[in-house]
Amino acid sequence: MQKITCESLIEKACELIENGTVSRVIGWKKGEFDYDLTPAVFANADEIKKNFIYNDFSGANFSKYLIKETRKGEGKVLVFLKPCDTYSFNQLLTEHRFDREKVYAVGIPCEGMADIAKVKAAVGDGILKITSEGDELIVENLYGDVNKVKLADVLAERCVNCKSKKHTAYDELMGEDGEILDNNRFDEVEKLENMTEDERFAFWQNELSRCIRCNACRDVCPACTCEKCVFDNPKSGVENKAIADSFEEKMFHIIRAFHVAGRCTDCGECSRVCPQNIPLHLLNRKFIKDINTFYGEYQAGEVEGSRAPLVNYTEEDIEPNDAVKREE
């Protein structure tokens, strides 16, 4: 269960909208089920009271929504940011993607969000209702069974390796601020690096060939904000799913990850939205890990205005031919 309750967020949102501080609120609303919350924009207190939801499935990172929302209409936009969302928020500000004056950011604490795929793996399909109590989720299914799972056991991958509970940007903070955490987020990347070339190829062939090229990873990514995207170009050669072979997925995923290299805050949205459960964060983390090793520790979005490693250089940089680990 989250430390901050849905009611307190609704109260805060209503208060700010009624006293005129903000004119719109970006929040979560119920989707078809309790676990597929949908991002939504609320324009008045009644709507908020009726539809606003915050629970263990409020994973969506709202930073990217600000780009479009701040360009519409008058007044400020209220946005609720979890600690990891504030990194994307800062990164977008660094890139001048939206007007800070038009945003009222409220930082909220986060206990980690649940991954519905893990819940389903634990209790099976046919879920009707999910409520949370203490550190447990209570799952009711359509056969009348009631199962309990610990939130800690069904945390999304990005939350298991949470990088920070500290907000890097906000106008107002609800609850308490946390600390930057030690994490083992590069463990899996290292595991892959220690495989042989053939094993790695087999691993990625298996993962990436599931890709259906829905572009959800691109659309959700707060670092992917180009208005004209290379993947929309019908002449790009990778604009649709190929039936013939696997080149397209490889090219798509290498380029997608490359385009956000050095700007990716490791928010993990790409893996969250992937309908095929491809571990896309492993591609992004490889870039982050390489950047840390080659050019020094860098966390995108930690400091507003910081210079991304790929638009910077030193005279002593590593030679590309030496960048790849030589196995003897």
Binding site: W204, M251, F294, N321
Partner: protein, 145 residues
């Protein structure tokens, strides 16, 4: 490409207009032989080489891709090759992470005065790619004849 049952690789070389492209010219003037399978593409700066170019070269049947630019500090545009160096370090590392053979892709600094180095680099690189054989891991069947 198989010719008389012998594997002949297809190599794409991206050469900077201000250094390696002139270096290739010098190699030719000096009658230094390098393999005919090397297809040179002239770019205004090694920094012009977008990662997509490299992947697309592989897609369209290249067995090896080599990028040649000015030595660090010698860039015609002051700093282009420094950016190339960072980008390519990450890209090469990523390609290898996906299981693509690391010998298929290389970056060399070749100046306009280094005709001999250009020829030697191409000979050596072609040899390494020939030893690897056909590019199977980044191929696009639609582009195969």
């Amino acid at each position: 490409m198989q010719i008389n049952n012998e594997f002949k690789p297809k190599i794409v070389a991206f050469c900077c207009n201000w250094c390696s492209y002139a270096g290739a010219d010098l190699a030719g003037n000096n009658r230094l032989a390098y393999p005919e399978c090397v297809n040179i593409i002239r770019v205004p700066c090694s920094c012009r080489v977008n990662p997509i170019f490299i992947l697309r070269a592989f897609q369209r049947g290249a067995d090896g891709v080599i990028i040649c630019g000015c030595h660090p500090g010698d860039c015609h545009y002051t700093s282009g090759n420094y950016y190339t160096r960072r980008r390519m370090a990450l890209l090469f590392s990523m390609l290898n992470y996906l299981g693509i053979e690391k010998e298929r892709i290389r970056l060399e600094w070749v100046s306009a005065a280094e005709g001999a180095k250009f020829a030697a680099t191409m000979n050596e690189f072609t040899e390494a790619v020939t030893a690897l054989g056909e590019n199977k891991r980044l191929e696009d069947l639609r582009c195969k004849k």
